[in-house]
C-alpha cells in the first residue's frame, strides 16, 4: 500500500511535468491564497510577540484591568481602544485605591488618556497623547528617563513628563527640562523626558515617545473632574503570586461594583491581543483576498483535474484492465491534486513571508516565524487539494473500463 502511494506520487510528478504551464497556473491560485494567510498570521503573530515580549521583559507579572466585560477576544480588542473616548469607562478612582490595598499587588497605575492640544514652542502633532497616570507607571511599564525625573506625588501638580519625540516636536530639542507647555490651555512644567521607547504597539496602547504624562489628579482637573480610566495596570509582587493577584483584583473590583462584572482582568496572552485598527484593516482585506483566492484556486484545481481525468480516460481504462481498483484510480488523481495544492501552498508560504517582511518595513514590528504558521499553510493546502480533488477523483474512479478503453484520445 505504501509502495502504491509512492508510485502515485511518482505518477503525479510525471503528469504535472508533462503539462508544466497548466500545473503552474493552477498552483498560482493556491499560492496567492496561502501567501496572504501566511502574511496575515506572520504579522499578527508579530504584534502579539511585541506585546508579550514587553510583558515578559517586565517580569511577566503584569495584570491589566479594562472596563467592560470581555465576551470574546474581538470585544477585548475593541474595548482596548484607548483613543475611543466615546464610551464611559466603568472603572473608578475607588477601584484604583482598593486595588492598591489588595494582597499580592505591588503597584497600581491607572491610565486615563485625554484629548487636548499640547503646545510648547509649537503645536504638537495630532497623534500626541495626554496621559494622566500615577508615578507607579514608570515601574510597571519600565519607563526610563533620559533626563529629569518621572512624576511624583510630592511634586507640584502642574508638572509633566514628555516623550522624546514630543519634546523634539514642540521644543525642537531633546532636553526640555524646565520648559513650559500648555495642555488644553493650562500651563505645565516639564520635569522629565523619557528615553526613546520606539514601540507604539504595546499593552498600554500609548506611544510613549509621543505622549505627555501628567499626574492623575492634574488629569482629572484637566478633564473637568470627570474620571475616565481606560485601563489599570497592576504589577503583582512576584510572578508566583500572579494568579492570586489576578483573583484578588477580580474580587476587589467586583465588590466595588456591587457584583456587576463590567470589567475584565487580563493576564498573559490575553493582554497581547493586537490593538491596532490599522493592522486589523490590513488583516481584514488580506483575509478577504485569501478566502477568495483560495476558493478560486480550489475551483481551478477542480477544473484542471476534470480536464486531466477526461484526457486520461483511456489510461484509466487500461489501468483498470491491468488490475487497478476504483480506489487505486481515485488515489492516483487525488494525489495529483494534492501535489498541485501542496506545492502551491509551499510557494505561498514563501511568498507570504516575503510579503510580510516587505510590509513590516513600513511597520514597527517584525513578522514571526514559527511552526504553527507553517502547519496552517500546509494544512490549508492539503484541505484544498482534498476538497477540490475529491470530485474529479471519484469521477475518474467511476469510469466504465470498457467505455474508457474504446475512447480514442
Amino acid at each position: 500500500m505504501r509502495l502504491l502511494f509512492i508510485n502515485h506520487i511518482q505518477n503525479a510528478r510525471q503528469s504535472l511535468q508533462s503539462s508544466r504551464a497548466r500545473s503552474l497556473l493552477t498552483m498560482l491560485g493556491v499560492t496567492i491564497g496561502v501567501a496572504s494567510i501566511t502574511a496575515i498570521l506572520a504579522l499578527s503573530g508579530g504584534t502579539n510577540n511585541i506585546i508579550s515580549d514587553q510583558i515578559n521583559s517586565l517580569g511577566g507579572n503584569i495584570i491589566i484591568v479594562r472596563p467592560g466585560a470581555a465576551f470574546d477576544p474581538t470585544l477585548d480588542i475593541t474595548q482596548a481602544q484607548l483613543h475611543d473616548n466615546y464610551s464611559t469607562s466603568t472603572l473608578t478612582e475607588k477601584d484604583v485605591e482598593s486595588l492598591e490595598k489588595t494582597n499580592n499587588i505591588k503597584s497600581v497605575a491607572p491610565i486615563m488618556v485625554l484629548s487636548g492640544t499640547i503646545k510648547g514652542d509649537s503645536k504638537a502633532p495630532n497623534n500626541s497623547q495626554v496621559v494622566a497616570t500615577s508615578p507607579e507607571l514608570a515601574d510597571i511599564s519600565n519607563l526610563k528617563l533620559r533626563v529629569g525625573q518621572f512624576l511624583d506625588e510630592t511634586l507640584d501638580q502642574n508638572t509633566v513628563v514628555i516623550g522624546k519625540q514630543l519634546s523634539i516636536n514642540i521644543f525642537g530639542t531633546e532636553s526640555s527640562i524646565g520648559r513650559n507647555l500648555t495642555i488644553r490651555g493650562k500651563p505645565f512644567v516639564v520635569v522629565g523626558v523619557l528615553k526613546q521607547v520606539n514601540n507604539p504597539i504595546n499593552y498600554n496602547s500609548i506611544d510613549f515617545d509621543n505622549a505627555a504624562m501628567v499626574n492623575f489628579t492634574a488629569g482629572k482637573k484637566l478633564n473637568n473632574d470627570v474620571i475616565q480610566i481606560q485601563q489599570i495596570d497592576i504589577k503583582a509582587t512576584s510572578i508566583d503570586k500572579l494568579k492570586k493577584a489576578e483573583i484578588g483584583a477580580n474580587k476587589t473590583i467586583l465588590a466595588n461594583h456591587v457584583g456587576e462584572k463590567d470589567f475584565s482582568v487580563l493576564v498573559g496572552d490575553k493582554i497581547s491581543q493586537p490593538t491596532s485598527h490599522f493592522f486589523y484593516t490590513i488583516a481584514g482585506v488580506m483575509t478577504a483576498i485569501a478566502a477568495i483566492s483560495l476558493l478560486v484556486g480550489g475551483i481551478g484545481i477542480m477544473n484542471i483535474m476534470l480536464v486531466t481525468v477526461a484526457e486520461r480516460t483511456r489510461e484509466i481504462g487500461i489501468r483498470k484492465a491491468l488490475g487497478a481498483s476504483n480506489i487505486d484510480i481515485s488515489w492516483q488523481f487525488l494525489i495529483e491534486s494534492l501535489a498541485i495544492s501542496i506545492i502551491g501552498g509551499v510557494f505561498g508560504y514563501v511568498v507570504g513571508y516575503i510579503l510580510a517582511f516587505s510590509i513590516s518595513d513600513i511597520l514597527t514590528f517584525n513578522p514571526v516565524i514559527n511552526w504553527q504558521i507553517a502547519v496552517i499553510a500546509i494544512l490549508i493546502s492539503v484541505v484544498m487539494g482534498l476538497l477540490f480533488g475529491l470530485y474529479p477523483a471519484i469521477r475518474a474512479a467511476r469510469k466504465d473500463p470498457i467505455e474508457s478503453l474504446n475512447r480514442h484520445n
Binding site: 511518482q10 483511456r314 491491468l322 488490475g323
Partner: protein, 266 residues
C-alpha cells in the same frame, strides 16, 4: 491433447446474458451462453462483428460485471466478489492484450510493462527489474526506454503482451491481438501466444482471422450472441516458420473450415 484431459474448468459460464440499451433500442449482446474453459486451453473465438465476442471477453476479464447469469472463475461465482477483489484478480490472474495495444503514450516501454506490478504493490526498482526481465524474453531489452510511438506495431504489441504477462497470470485474454498488424508481425505474436500456451497458460483469443485459429486447441464461433460451433482447429498454419506445432495431429483433426461455416449460416 493432454490439456483437455485436465478436469477443473477455470471459467464456467451458465446462461450468461448481456443486454445493452433499453426498450426499442435494446440489443441482446449475449444470449444464454453456456461455456466452460479448462485450464491450459487455447480458445479462439471467432464470428462476425457485433456477435458479442468482445463483450464475452470483457465479462470473462471482469471488466464488465453487469450481466445476468452465472460466471464462475476458479469455482467462485464472480457476482459474489467485491470490486476491489475483482481488481486484484485482474491484477494477478488475468492478462489483457488488446487490438490497439493500449500502451499509455506518456510512459516509456519499461514503465508500461511495469504498470500491472504497481497494483501488486511492488517497489519501483523491483518493478523495473521484473519488467526488464520479461522484456528480455521478448527481445525488447534494447527498447526499454523508447516511447511507444517510437516502436513498430509488432514491437508495440509485443510490449503489450509482455505487460500482460509480467504478473504471470494464468489466463490471458487477447482481443484481436493481431488485428492491427501485418501478417509477419502477426505470426511472431501468435508464436509468442502459442509459446505461452505450451507453458500451461489458459489463452482466450478473439480473432477475425481463421488462419490464426490453428494455433489454438479449441475454436468457438459465435453468432448473434450465441455460441454457434465449438470445434478443434482446422486450418494448418501457412507460414513455414511454425514448426513447433505438431502438424500430423492437427491434420487428422481437420474438419470444416469455420470460415466456410460462417458463410453457410448466412
Amino acid at each position: 491433447m493432454t490439456i483437455t484431459t485436465k478436469k477443473t474448468p477455470v471459467i464456467k459460464l451458465r446462461d450468461l446474458e448481456k443486454r445493452f440499451g433499453i426498450g426499442d433500442a435494446e440489443i441482446i449482446a449475449l444470449n444464454k451462453i453456456n461455456l466452460s474453459i479448462k485450464k491450459g486451453e487455447f480458445v479462439s473465438i471467432m464470428g462476425p462483428s457485433g456477435c458479442g465476442k468482445t463483450t464475452l471477453l470483457n465479462i470473462i476479464g471482469l471488466l464488465d460485471s453487469s450481466f445476468v447469469g452465472e460466471y464462475e472463475l476458479d469455482g467462485k461465482s464472480v457476482n459474489s466478489i467485491s470490486e476491489i477483489k475483482q481488481a486484484r484478480i485482474r491484477s494477478k490472474q488475468i492478462g489483457f492484450v488488446f487490438q490497439n495495444f493500449n500502451l499509455i503514450p506518456r510512459l516509456n516501454v519499461i514503465e508500461n510493462v511495469a504498470i500491472p506490478l504497481v497494483y501488486k504493490g511492488m517497489s519501483h526498482t523491483k518493478r523495473l527489474v521484473v519488467a526488464s526481465d520479461i522484456l528480455k524474453n521478448f527481445h525488447l531489452n534494447e527498447r526499454e526506454y523508447y516511447m511507444p510511438y517510437q516502436l513498430s506495431g509488432g514491437q508495440v504489441q509485443r510490449v503489450a503482451i509482455a505487460r500482460a504477462l509480467v504478473n504471470e497470470p494464468s489466463i490471458i485474454l487477447a482481443d484481436e491481438p493481431t488485428g492491427n498488424l501485418d501478417s509477419r508481425s502477426s505470426h511472431i505474436i501468435m508464436e509468442e501466444l502459442s509459446d505461452l500456451h505450451k507453458r500451461g497458460n489458459t489463452i482466450i483469443m478473439v480473432t477475425h482471422n481463421p488462419r490464426l485459429t490453428t494455433y489454438s486447441s479449441r475454436v468457438i464461433t459465435m453468432l448473434d450472441g450465441q455460441i454457434d460451433t465449438d470445434t478443434k482447429p482446422t486450418i494448418e498454419p501457412t507460414e513455414p516458420k511454425i514448426k513447433r506445432q505438431p502438424k500430423t495431429k492437427q491434420t487428422k483433426r481437420r474438419k470444416k473450415s469455420p470460415f466456410r461455416m460462417k458463410r453457410k449460416k448466412r
